[in-house]
Amino acid sequence: MKSNTLILHTAALFIMPLQLMFSVFLLFRGHDEPGGGFIGGLVAAGAFVLYAFAFGSEATRRILRVAPRDLLAAGLLFAIVSTIPAFLSGQPMLTAHWWELPLPGENYLKLSTPLIFDIGVYATVLGTIMTFVINLMESDE
């Protein structure tokens, strides 16, 4: 299943990169403003679904580079990895750890295990939806 309209093709090519960037933006700002891994993952999935509608599932697989179900595994792995710092320092599971990296000027880059965890959520959500969509699209081909 893929559409052959010029409008959708052009729009998809323009919108998808923007939407992906927006999803990453949502992911990173999630801790302070509306957003987060779940919403970010959904937006990213929306971008890929749009692309899939325009160019078909084969092309979407290529642009994703990894199999959707590997995204699932990667997401769960990220979430598990985020528990390791707490584990090593002998704290209860999923205790948050924060590291602040100084940047030029007066800014700090805040890195944390919740962020790693959120990236895991992002990848899992994206992987789930892409597994659904791509396989459903391919099942009738």
């Binding site: 302070d32 779940f38 919403i39 929306g46 679904v49 209860p92 965890f117 992987g127 659904f132």
Partner: protein, 768 residues
């Protein structure tokens, strides 16, 4: 300690890579880990002897009272040493036995995980963690037994072992929870330290039955013994490990561990003695009447497990000393004998004892080791097995009750076991040379070092029993007893009743052995015809029954009519909710609409219109689209009432749902109306009922507050504790991250479920 337990899992992860690097020396390389663990555990001995027990703490999920605390005392240390010590030799042995096997790397992955689970089991202080490791051993042993997964028989046996042990595991979990309720703690060290009279508690009987159901299935007690001989489908190194130090000993460990707390009740000791005695005798008898060398050994393990159970049940200081000695002796000789059996199988090409003979000429080293190990099995001097057996008989003679019956059973088993030892050590190696499928020659060094060292240790312990006694055994007996015990192990006790009984059983056993060739076929025939009424037949009937019930309930409940599922779900959910609402709360109809805005009314009307359209339309696409409108309306409501995160999520989920539904709709046939008017009115009634209950529920929730709201806690603490201003996100990834972790696992499982459904469907269609 945490690292000691988890290192097996970590090594399992890198084992395949190591296999590629080290090639045929993989067994030796991997054995470094259990060897160093043995040294580490041995280094804890002085500390444990001085303090009685050590508790190493690590709070894992304190909110759920689940910790990764480790309890190290005499008993757990004996087990840890056996697991890691014998594990070392098993890995070396497996490297040689399975050399060149195409799944060797996979074998080591499972084996190491199994070993680590077993270590976790015997070292856990927390009941929940103990249970998790317990189930891990069931799962990993399932994969080990079914390792030759292309063999139908192996798969069946593995599944049988899994079903039996996991069914027991479920009972065990209930028992452990009851135990925790009774004693008020999930920590073993606290339970053992408290001097509460647990056997007077109302839950005592239930807890003991549940826990014993778990330990009896795991430790293959009659009538659950049938899974163990079938587990022989596993490669020999697995059998050697499973039987000597792990898996079946897990149940024994737990009984010994809980003996100080639960052992005061009569139910406990009587059940253990009764089932133990039945198991001991059945095992010895079946061992003597089998021909396959691994079967013989497997049944003799059952006999040993029965003996250990009896000794815990008797529970006197002498009996517990005998328990620890028998445990160590059995682990040493059984590990050795299984490895020998594997070597024989490997070199001669047959497992049938009656087809072996005169092998001492071609396999002299194997013969010497086998004889040494068999001495221990038969309980003859000068090896450690002799001391254990003397103690066993002595403690049964002095048992507080049922002493005569137990002694008779033990002597009868001893007679048979002497015969069994002869079968294993004399029959294959002496007498005239028999023709075997392969021309036999000496087993490789890797396959002999394990049994050799284990047999020598048994000999050393026999000649100098004060060495293990002083080091650890006395402390171990103390931890099974609950208070320190003075033990006096010696090879020579003088001429006394146990010695006379031993000698008598030796003579009888040897004469039985002489007639084995004549008796065995008769016994075998009796066993085969009796098996129709045995517990294994019961197991198969039960499994058939379950399949029939499952098929029936699937036909009735899971009949594929989605409308019916939905109807039942909605009716039951809202029926129960409505009932609770009416009885607990009553109906509130007050609703204040004075400060509502016109746009809120607009959204409400939009929602209503969309809902009506969705249920009335004949076009699938139309109803999906109007469902989308419904969702967007709800999202709008979220945004109006300042819940932007929810709003955005709802918006995105709605969009994607519509897309997914459209994708599925393409595959559906034309819309036809299949339901009768009656069915449609019934559905309407249920839907209206659900709507009314929901409305009443919301109205009620407006002016009732049962609990103080916790949102203020999150509002106040998300900044200082969670370093974030977006409360929703801080809750998701920090405060309640464990929930989120569970949710993303569920999400992934759902994705995999859908994936397999689509793929399976596609494959079906490709078939002609």
């Amino acid at each position: 300690m945490l690292l000691a337990v988890l290192s097996g899992f970590l090594l399992a992860i890198v084992a395949p890579a190591l296999h590629r690097i080290s090639g045929r020396y993989i067994g030796w390389v991997l054995a470094i880990l259990p060897a160093s663990l043995t040294v580490y555990f041995a280094s804890l001995i002085p500390d444990v002897r001085a303090n009685g027990s050590l508790v190493l703490e690590y709070a894992w999920m304190p909110g759920l009272d689940i910790s990764l605390n480790f309890l190290v005392d005499g008993l757990s240390l004996v087990f840890a040493l056996l697991i890691s010590g014998i594990g070392t030799f098993i890995l070396i042995y497996a490297g040689a036995y399975l050399a060149g096997h195409k799944y060797l790397a996979r074998f080591f992955v499972i084996m190491l995980s199994f070993m680590a689970s077993m270590l976790g089991l015997v070292l856990s202080d927390n009941l929940i963690t103990l249970f998790v490791f317990w189930e891990l051993t069931s799962i990993t042993s399932y994969m080990l037994i079914g390792f030759n997964h292309e063999d139908m028989e192996a798969r069946k046996c593995a599944l049988q072992g899994l079903f039996v042990t996991v069914a027991g595991g479920l009972a065990l979990m209930a028992g452990l929870v009851l135990l925790a309720i009774m004693s008020g703690s999930y920590s073993l060290s606290e339970i053992l330290a408290s001097d509460m009279a647990l056997h007077e508690h109302a839950f005592y009987t239930a807890a003991v039955i549940c826990i014993l159901a778990g330990t009896f299935t795991k430790s293959a007690q009659v009538p659950f013994h049938f899974w163990l001989p079938n587990a022989m489908a596993a490669p020999t190194p697995v059998s050697a490990f499973l039987h000597s130090a792990t898996m079946v000993k897990a149940g024994i460990y737990l009984m010994a561990r809980l003996n100080p707390s639960l052992g005061e009740g009569e139910l406990w000791s009587q059940a253990l003695m009764l089932f133990g005695a039945a198991t001991m005798f059945t095992g010895a008898y079946l061992a003597f009447s089998s021909t396959g060398i691994k079967k013989v050994l497997a049944y003799s393990t059952i006999m040993a497990l029965g003996t250990l159970t009896i000794l815990i049940g008797v529970g006197t200081e002498l009996a517990l000393t005998a328990f620890i000695c028998f445990l160590v002796a059995h682990s040493l000789y059984k590990g050795a004998l299984f490895m020998i059996a594997g070597a024989l199988d490997h070199e001669t090409g047959t497992k049938d004892i009656s087809r072996m003979g005169g092998l001492r000429k071609s396999m002299p080293a194997t013969a010497v080791i086998a004889c040494l190990a068999a001495l221990s099995l038969a309980g003859l001097p000068p090896v450690f097995g002799f001391i254990a057996k003397e103690l066993l008989l002595e403690s049964l003679l002095e048992a507080p009750f049922w002493s005569v019956g137990l002694t008779v059973a033990a002597v009868a088993s001893a007679v048979l076991i002497v015969g069994v030892a002869g079968l294993v050590a004399i029959k294959p190696f002496f007498g005239s040379t028999a023709n075997t499928p392969k021309t036999p020659h000496e087993a490789p060094f890797g396959m002999l070092v394990g049994p050799g060292v284990l047999s020598l240790i048994a000999l050393l312990f026999g000649l100098a029993p004060f060495l293990p006694e002083g080091a650890l055994l006395q402390t171990a007996v103390g931890s099974v007893n609950g208070s320190p015990v003075e033990t006096h192990l010696a090879l020579w006790h003088g001429v006394n009743v146990p010695l006379v009984l031993s000698m008598g059983s030796l003579a009888l056993g040897l004469s039985l052995l002489a007639g084995w060739r004549r008796i065995q076929p008769t016994l075998y025939a009796i066993n085969t015809s009796g098996a129709r009424f045995g517990p294994e037949a019961g197991y198969f009937r039960l499994m058939e029954g379950i399949t029939i019930v499952a098929a029936w309930q699937t036909r009735v409940l899971q009949n594929g009519v989605l409308g019916l599922y939905l109807l039942l779900l909605v009716a039951v959910t809202f029926g129960l909710t409505g009932y609770t609402l009416l009885t607990k709360q009553g109906i509130t109809l007050a609703l204040d609409l004075t400060d509502s805005h016109f746009y809120e009314w607009g959204i409400a009307l939009l929602l209503l219109a969309a809902a009506v359209f969705a249920s009335a339309t004949h076009s699938r696409l139309g109803s999906v689209a109007s469902m989308g409108v419904l969702g967007f309306g709800v999202a709008l409501t979220f945004i109006l009432f300042s819940a932007p995160d929810l709003g955005i999520t709802q918006l995105l989920v709605e969009t994607l749902t519509v897309i997914l539904l459209v994708l599925v709709l393409f595959k559906l046939p034309e819309f036809v109306n299949l339901s009768s008017p009656f069915e449609r009115y019934r559905d309407l009634a249920v839907a209206a009922f659900a709507g009314i209950v929901m409305t009443l529920l919301i109205l009620a929730s407006l002016d009732v507050q049962y609990f103080e709201t916790i949102s203020s806690y999150y509002v106040e603490n998300s900044g200082p504790l969670g370093h974030g201003r977006n409360i929703v996100n801080v809750i998701l990834v920090d405060f309640r991250a464990l929930d989120t972790l569970g949710e993303i696992f569920v999400l992934s499982l759902a994705a995999l479920g859908v994936l397999s459904m689509i793929k399976l469907k596609a494959e079906d269609q490709h078939k002609p």
